[in-house]
């Protein structure tokens, strides 16, 4: 009987030891498991290139001054980065300068930014992964109190539609010259704007970027923009400015503030007299144009007054 009880105690003790061991092991395993998980899903990381020529920390610049940034982001070891945002904040107003979808484990994006007219603005660079994990880095750009607004040029230009035999459709904003298609092919590096009329696609009178998607029947032949080796990108944004605002503009401040980087598109469609668009060229020049006259035909034309940074 004694041996039976003893046996039972030993067995019970053994059971307890076994149970405790298993329980403790289980807890340790869980802790290890979750601690490992945590490090694997720590979210993305982000940093700015600190090489010469790049801005990566608080700095002072004049209005209209361009500056380069390069953001680098890496995923956290689990899920890819799917969204990159560059955000601008001044006077409590937050706008997204850049917002794009991606799907990569690492991202490197370079941008040429421009100091606005505001005294102080904060640039924030954000990387977000598929699970919503995010990382950000920011710096402040202060306006150089000694800087002055830049000068602008005035161009009164007319561009012909695709079938016009009188006026060229392709324009170099640098020179103010308009070219016909064959000549434009030769000067494609300087062409930043073109005009066409396309009623079929609901675009009607359109001023477009050379790299915009156009119907294949608008500009045909080997010299058509579709066959260019260099197709500059100019983006347009329809403003709510009045003609009075436009006429009062005597420096580049209005050009800088009226452009919306994120809302700008490669086409200014369905143009009518009175429309005022802001734009930015591939050469980082800001501008505004006002539509004075339009003849909506494939042989028609558009007349605009253009203001552009010198």
């Amino acid at each position: 009987m004694k041996s039976l009880i003893k046996n039972h105690i030993y067995r019970y003790a053994g059971l307890r030891i076994t149970f405790q061991t298993v329980f403790v092991s289980f807890i340790v395993f869980l802790l290890m498991f979750y601690s490992c998980k945590r490090s694997e899903t720590s979210g993305p990381s982000i940093y700015l290139t600190t090489d010469s020529g790049y801005v990566f920390k608080d700095t002072v610049l004049g209005s209209g001054d361009a500056f380069k940034v390069q953001l680098n982001a890496d995923f956290g070891g689990d899920v890819n980065i799917t969204n990159v945002i560059i955000r601008n904040e001044h006077d409590g107003i937050v706008t997204n300068y850049f917002d794009t979808g991606v799907n990569n484990s690492s991202i490197k994006i370079s941008k040429l930014l421009t100091k606005s007219v505001y005294d102080k603005e904060v640039w924030t660079f954000i990387a977000i992964d598929k699970n919503g994990g995010n990382a950000s880095v920011s710096f402040t750009v202060t306006k150089d109190p000694s800087s002055v607004y830049g000068n602008i040029r005035h161009l009164n230009t007319t561009m012909g539609a695709q079938s016009s035999t009188l006026i060229g459709s392709f324009m170099s904003l640098n020179t103010g010259v308009t070219y016909f298609q064959d000549s434009a092919f030769v000067h494609q590096d300087s062409i930043e704007m073109l005009y066409y009329y396309d009623a079929g696609n609901g675009e009607a009178n359109t001023i477009a970027s050379p790299n915009a998607n156009m119907g294949t029947t608008i500009y045909t032949g080997t010299s058509g923009p579709l066959n260019w080796t260099l197709r500059n990108e100019t983006r347009y944004y329809k403003t709510t400015l009045t003609l009075a605002d436009f006429n009062a503009c005597d420096n580049d401040s209005l050009l800088l503030v009226s452009y919306s980087e994120i809302n700008a598109k490669r086409k200014a469609k369905n143009l009518v007299v009175g429309d005022i668009y802001s734009f930015k060229t591939a050469h980082n020049k800001y501008g505004l144009f006002y539509i004075q006259d339009v003849i909506g035909l494939e042989t028609g034309s558009v007349n605009a007054i253009i203001l552009i940074q010198q």
Partner: protein, 765 residues
């Protein structure tokens, strides 16, 4: 008859004189005609002896030891008969089997047990697809087996790779207009989810009942085009096992197992069932070669289902039963940019039911409680053609239904059979679109409550020759909790932000009558006439969801009223000879307040530079549908049959009146996705070597746009199935769909899978 009597006598004398051996002598007779049945397969299950009846319908098993024997008799087109024979020492037994034919017979149908309607008495157009028929047809999914139902058009442009199986009945082309039941209770979600057919395990189906035409007088909401009831098998033997594996085109492979058992005596006892199904395929490329991009990839499928059933049978037709079913399926949509699984639809579904059913000669009671929950995930990757903008969105939708259906029937006097019942159902859907490529989130919720009560009387006069059926149902439907909100809108969703809203509660009421009469001249001839009505409340998506659809930019319309329909039909069941059954039916339906996309005249740039017309679902004027359905069943020989169905449907918009802002008038236009003429036929020849089933279908051209400017051309399709069963246990089947490999383009410009060849091996015990 004389021949049969002589043979019976001969067998009797043979049994008397051959006392020195123990033999089983049998004769097999067609129960209906009394004809002898040569060629019937006879298996002695205990020792696997197999034989068949001779030219006189006689079989013999000789020199058997004393004991109890199970004899299984099977003949194509007849119900399998199993007999138990006790054999004494040095004694012969004479047995007789009366085989019952499996014929689509209007007099043997019982439709939808939960609503107490006897098929031979119902003045309506009813079809039943039996388990045997499903096995005979070259069907890969259950909806494939609905081929031989005139008036019903089941379509799967991409075969098993379709995320839904689309059903149109009597010219009504939206899945949500047909109510689908599983064992008599709602299986389609309250919000009209069409993803039903991929969730049904074909091996578990006992039969599919199709009640065509408006039936809201009994079933309430959504029973506009018809009601489809999928009945699952009930365990009857102590233990049944069925397993099968299959492999075919596009490396499609899978398997299924079914276990069933009944433990009890004298129709009293516990029964149970468990089943599982699995299928996967890397799929095929839907995009035609000529326009295929590197991001167009194969549309794959991976799916499985698992189910359990347990019940207690207190007595015959007196059961308490619980069911749980789980299904999962993931189907790639054929495009992939960065994510390893590309764009896809993934569905997880849980379904549970608890039922009590009791049927006696004088009364019936059915109580069904059910709960269903679906978790859907739609992962979508896309790149805008013009801007090159990459968008990656996950849409999570959680939908749940719960309800209680109750009905009670009783015989009143000798002429009336009265049924009354009440149904309650509540449904809710919660949806979140999570943008990974921006910080936007769209939330879309909505809830609905349904309550209805009905009464039906079946009056039998003139010695049951004249049946008058009348029913009336009152329904109340409540929409509430409607939410459409956008959080952190960026360019991806900013164009929708103005339409964010919390929607106010809506209530609708519907009174749905039905009145019909049937005159049964004799078991072979009957005619009927019927007036019926149906309705369907709008779904949550149309009332509260704003967003991109294929036709444009859709605005939510919280003011949508329910669609309604009234149908007048006359039909007949004619069997002029025992080998021919003819069921014609003609009907005329008037739909009112039908919901249609209407262009508002505005357009909007959606997520970038794509301009889309703004559209809105609205209740338009009237829809007129005229149809004719007919079905012929020729039993050419005992084991050869030909079934042919013809359907004519003219679904037109009778008047299209919305408001002065409407930019188009669709009066006189045909409804989309409804072919005017459909012809389907099946030839079946079953024999001892290989059972053959050949089917063919002609689909007339069908419009695919509201203005009737674009259409899909007419086409023929031919399928075949060859099968053989060894030792009554091991089955082999070869199914070929689309024999001539016609690769059709659907309305989206995507290719059908072409010829599908599937080989199947099964084991049954």
């Amino acid at each position: 008859m004389i021949q049969k009597s002589i043979l019976t006598l001969l067998l009797f004398f043979a049994a008397c004189f051959a006392y020195s051996q123990s033999n089983i002598n049998g004769i097999v007779i067609d129960d209906q005609s009394g004809n002898l049945m040569p060629g019937t397969s006879v298996v002695l299950l205990e020792n696997k002896f197999t034989t068949s009846t001779n030219a006189d319908g006689v079989f013999v098993f000789k020199n058997l030891p004393e004991g109890k024997y199970h004899i299984c008799l099977s003949y194509v087109g007849y119900k399998t008969d199993t007999m138990v024979v006790s054999l004494g020492r040095k004694f012969d037994r004479y047995v007789e089997s009366r085989m019952q034919a499996i014929v689509v017979d209007i007099s043997t149908v019982t439709i939808s047990a939960s609503r107490s309607m006897k098929g031979d008495k119902v003045p309506a157009s009813i079809d039943v697809v039996t388990k045997q028929r499903i096995q005979q047809l070259p069907a890969i999914t259950v909806d494939d087996a609905l081929l031989l139902i005139p008036g019903l058009n089941a379509s799967r442009s991409y075969g098993i790779f379709n995320k839904t199986g689309d059903i149109s009945i009597r010219g009504l082309n939206r899945n949500i207009q047909t109510l689908i039941l599983l064992d008599g209770i709602p299986y389609s979600l309250f919000d009209g989810s069409a993803n039903i057919w991929n969730k049904v395990n074909m091996d578990e189906v006992d039969n599919v009942e199709v009640l065509k035409g408006a039936n809201s007088s009994l079933y309430g909401a959504n029973a506009m085009a018809g009601v489809i009831n999928i009945n699952t098998q009930k365990p009857q033997k102590p233990l049944e096992i069925k397993a099968r594996v299959f492999y075919g085109t596009y490396n499609t492979q899978g398997g299924a197992v079914n276990f069933r058992g009944f433990q009890g005596k004298n129709n009293k006892g516990f029964y149970w069932a468990a089943n599982g199904f699995y299928r996967k395929s890397p799929g095929y490329n839907m995009m035609p070669d000529s326009i295929r991009a590197s991001t167009d990839v194969k549309a794959y499928v991976m799916e499985y289902t698992a189910g359990m059933k347990a019940g207690y049978q207190f007595a015959k037709d007196n059961t308490l039963e619980g069911v749980y079913q789980f299904s999962y399926d993931k189907r790639g949509s054929g495009s992939k940019y960065y994510e390893s699984d590309g764009s896809f639809n993934q569905y997880q579904s849980h379904f549970a039911r608890l039922s009590y059913n009791r049927i006696t000669k004088k009364s019936e009671i059915h109580v069904n409680g059910f709960f269903k929950k679906d978790y859907d995930l739609k992962q979508n990757e896309s790149v805008k053609k013009q801007s090159g903008l990459y968008t990656f969105v996950d849409s999570y939708t959680e939908t749940q239904d719960a309800g209680l259906w109750f009905s009670f029937s009783t015989r009143i006097g000798s002429h009336n059979y009265l049924t009354a019942g009440a149904d309650f159902k509540t449904g809710a859907t919660f949806s979140d679109d999570i943008y990974h490529t921006s910080i936007d989130t769209i939330k879309n919720d909505g809830k609905m409550n349904f309550a209805g009560a009905f009464v039906q009387d079946q009056l039998s006069l003139l010695h049951d020759k004249l049946i008058i059926l009348g029913s009336l149902r009152y329904d109340w439907v409540r929409f509430y909790g409607g939410v459409f909100q956008i959080y952190s809108p960026t360019l991806a969703t900013a164009y929708m932000a103005n339409y964010a809203n919390d929607f106010t509660e809506k209530n609708w009421f519907a009174l749905s009558p039905k009145l019909g009469a049937k005159y049964i001249f004799n078991p072979n001839y009957n005619i009927y006439a019927l007036y019926s009505s149906g309705f369907r409340p709008s779904n949550v998506s149309d009332m509260s969801r704003t967003g991109d659809v294929s036709k444009g930019f859709k605005l939510a319309n919280p003011d949508l009223k329910p669609e309604r329909i009234q149908t007048f039909e006359v039909g007949a069941g004619l069997r002029p000879w025992k080998w021919l059954l003819f069921q014609p039916c003609v009907y005329y339906s008037i739909g009112s307040d039908f919901q249609y996309f209407v262009a508002t005249g505005d357009s909007v740039y959606t997520s970038g530079s794509t301009m889309k017309p703004v559209i809105k679902r609205q209740n338009v004027g009237r829809v007129d549908i005229l149809g004719f359905e007919s079905k012929f069943v020729f039993n050419i020989h005992k084991n050869i049959s030909l079934t042919a169905c013809y359907t004519y449907t003219s679904s037109k918009i009778g008047s299209f009146v919305v408001d002065s802002n409407t930019t188009k008038d669709l009066t006189g236009k045909y409804l989309i996705d409804v072919p005017k003429n459909v012809f389907a036929a099946a030839f079946m020849w079953e024999n001892r070597y290989v059972n053959v089933c050949l089917t063919g279908k002609f689909n007339d051209k069908e419009w695919i746009d509201d203005e009737n400017t674009l259409y899909l051309d007419s086409y023929f399709n031919f399928d075949a199935k060859l099968q053989h069963t060894f030792y009554n246990k091991i089955g082999c089947a070869l199914t070929v769909q689309n024999i001539f490999n016609k690769r059709l383009l659907d309305s989206k410009g995507l290719l059908s899978p072409g010829r599908i060849i599937m080989f199947e091996l099964s084991f049954q015990w």
